[in-house]
């Protein structure tokens, strides 16, 4: 991959990383209402996958969805305002971290229910196939969702009806607070094979690999609608949610994760392609400024009005 491409991907990953680090601080300061599930260490997956997508393609996400959302190109200011529960948020401050959506970008929503994005995205893929424009749907889910019944229903239907859906599993080894090896009697490659679905595995922390494989899978899917499974091995650095002390996890295991940090790996790849430390510093400065501007705008934005509690429950008032 060329240096300018690597730099663009690196920048996008850094936006997600810095955004989440900023949210981590805001959360610690009591400025983020509700739960916060960070995807630090998993940034390469959505950035790599989104390289293959346009606004016509749809994605849906899970509780750990900040990266999926930002990589789909949603407005950073609207994103920050939403997570801080402000009226200027993408969802007017009614969704928050677990329900960020931007339908204009094909981002059908993060989700608070494990596995719930699977049928929604399968249906979106059916709609896109009916509309016949070659668009595809992508669902991000974790290895914890492999134990949910709807996964099996959706793999079956997607294969049966040849739907243009990319099942992207971010396998970080943890189902909330439990190691997935103690939760699952099989593995995703075997499940994909059982349903006759094309399966690919990549190192989910190497953004160029995720991008190259996703591009190949999506290109094939646009031409001939059919599902594919992409399993990305990746690393969850933080707890299941902010405030989780991770005392169920070995400290050495967490410390070793920095070796596989996708941003560190991407910086190395840039250096090997001729990138300079100045170039990296320039990207980091630009990203920091962007994050700071979005944070300040969100902090200063008004809260939603309690007079609007009934707004948008229905499109129109019947009866």
């Amino acid at each position: 991959m060329k240096l300018d491409e690597l730099a663009r991907l690196h920048r996008q990953m850094l936006v997600i990383r810095r955004a989440e680090e900023r949210l981590q601080k805001l959360f610690a300061d009591g400025l983020v209402p509700g739960f916060l599930h960070l995807s630090i260490g998993q940034e390469a997956v959505p950035v790599g996958v989104s390289e293959a997508l346009t606004d016509c393609d749809t994605v849906s996400s899970n509780h750990r969805g900040h990266g999926h959302t930002l990589a789909k190109g949603v407005d950073l200011k609207g994103f920050f305002a939403e997570i801080l529960g402000k009226a200027t948020g993408l969802c007017k401050g009614r969704g928050g971290s677990m329900h960020v959506a931007d339908l204009s970008k094909g981002m059908l929503g993060a989700n608070g229910i494990v596995g719930a994005g699977l049928p929604i995205t399968t249906g979106s893929a059916l709609a896109l196939k009916m509309q016949g424009q070659g668009a595809v749907a992508v669902v991000y889910f974790g290895d914890g969702a492999l134990a949910e019944g709807v996964l099996h229903e959706c793999l079956n239907i997607a294969a049966l009806w040849k739907l243009p859906i990319l099942f992207v599993c971010e396998n970080n080894g943890w189902s909330e607070f439990s190691p997935t090896e103690r939760q699952l009697a099989t593995s995703l490659d075997k499940l994909a094979k059982a349903f006759g679905i094309k399966y690919s595995a990549v190192d989910g922390n190497v953004v160029a690999d995720v991008a190259t494989t996703s591009a190949r899978l999506v290109k094939a899917m646009r031409k001939n609608a059919a599902p594919a499974v992409l399993e990305c091995s990746t690393t969850r650095v933080r707890g299941h949610f902010e405030g989780d002390r991770q005392d169920y996890r070995d400290g050495d295991e967490i410390a070793a994760l920095s070796e596989r940090d996708p941003i560190r790996l991407s910086a190395t790849a840039m250096a090997q392609a001729g990138g300079t430390p100045e170039m990296l510093a320039e990207i980091a400065d630009a990203v920091d400024a962007e994050i700071e501007a979005a944070t300040q705008a969100a902090l200063e934005a008004p809260l939603p009005s309690s007079a609007d509690i009934l707004t948008d429950v229905y499109t129109s008032v019947a009866g």
């Binding site: 969802c91 339908l103 049928p119 019944g149 239907i157 429950v313 009866g319």
Partner: protein, 327 residues
């Protein structure tokens, strides 16, 4: 005006909606070549093809969730869930996803999907194929619920549900599927029925019975019995449960001053409880007697004929409730 069975009116509504709007499509178990368990989709596969009529695997959660996703992607899906009891498997998709998407996404979009499903007993179908669970759905902000009591309403409410930008649960009553009624021959004469509006089926001055679905006919029979004694009972068909026509019920109560609410569903914690509570509040000054409910006892629906007959509410129970409130 030609006579049509309830199930045929459902079929006609689906066909007309699909004809009128290419984004309308059907998804459900055995709805293709088999035409559906109750034949609501008979001949629609032949007419519209497999790209509009999706005969699905037995995966209620997936097909309901697929309807949510397709609706968010510009389509108007109509899901059939073979028995209302099976909507238990669709609950996450209806309650956590369909109902909430518009509000939690700040009004960015809506979920214009319909879920059709039959409730009710009378077929000796037993505890897992007879339940009336509409109160569950009416309790969830973001969902609309309708329950037609006759063929013309089955047509009109389904067309309105498919047009509606929000998720609508259309509860059909399987004991009514063979019911005959009028439906105009010319497509342009077939009317939609506004969701949220009830109808006075039979006017009366002495007491009001509010009902929906199969209970409407029971209420009419009860009214006839009372009329023989010179007591004129007004019968209201709610047609729509969420939202329900509160002003129509209140207006009737201000004339009759006595109220009974009847439904086939279990009485406790049901739709009737909500109506009673509202009328005890905003209609308190109008009441001449206690507001009474008629519904099934607090037990699973039995399958044996004698037990099921005893379990299902009937006109006699409505008559008894009327006598009590009028006493």
């Amino acid at each position: 005006m030609p006579e049509t069975r309830y199930i045929k009116a459902v079929n006609q509504a689906l066909a007309d909606a699909m004809e009128a709007d290419p984004t309308v499509f059907l998804i459900g178990e055995d709805i293709g070549a088999a035409g559906g368990s109750f034949k609501a989709t008979r001949n629609l596969l032949e007419k519209f093809g497999p790209e509009r009529v999706y005969d699905s695997p037995i995966s209620e959660a997936a097909i309901t969730g697929m309807a949510v996703g397709a609706a968010l992607t510009g389509m108007r899906p109509v899901v059939e869930i073979m028995f209302m009891d099976f909507t238990t498997l669709s609950m996450d998709m209806l309650v956590n996803q369909a109902a909430k998407a518009r509000s939690m996404f700040g009004g960015q979009g809506s979920v214009p999907m319909v879920l059709r499903t039959p409730h009710g007993g009378g077929l000796n179908a037993g505890p897992q194929h007879s339940q009336c669970l509409e109160a569950w759905f009416a309790h969830v902000p973001g969902l609309r619920v309708v329950c037609p009591s006759n063929p013309a309403d089955a047509y009109g409410l389904l067309r309105a549900a498919i047009d509606d930008p929000d998720p609508v649960i259309v509860v059909e009553n399987k004991a009514l599927y063979a019911m005959k009624g009028d439906l105009p021959d010319a497509p342009e004469d077939r009317e939609r029925i506004e969701i949220g509006k009830g109808r006075i089926v039979r006017p009366g001055r002495d007491a009001t019975v509010v009902s929906y679905g199969a209970a409407v006919a029971m209420a009419e029979t009860a009214a006839e019995t009372m009329a023989e004694e010179g007591i004129e009972v007004e019968v209201i068909d709610l047609r729509s449960i969420q939202p329900w026509d509160e002003s129509l019920v209140l207006e009737s109560l201000t004339r009759t001053h006595n109220l009974v609410v009847a439904h086939e569903a279990v009485e406790a914690f049901g739709v009737g409880a909500e109506i009673v509570a509202r009328m005890a509040d905003i209609g308190f000054d109008q009441l001449d007697g206690p507001i009474l409910r008629v519904g099934a006892p607090f037990a699973p629906s039995p399958f044996g004929k004698t037990l099921e007959d005893a379990y299902r509410p009937d006109a006699n129970q409505i008559v008894a409730a009327l006598r009590r409130t009028l006493a």
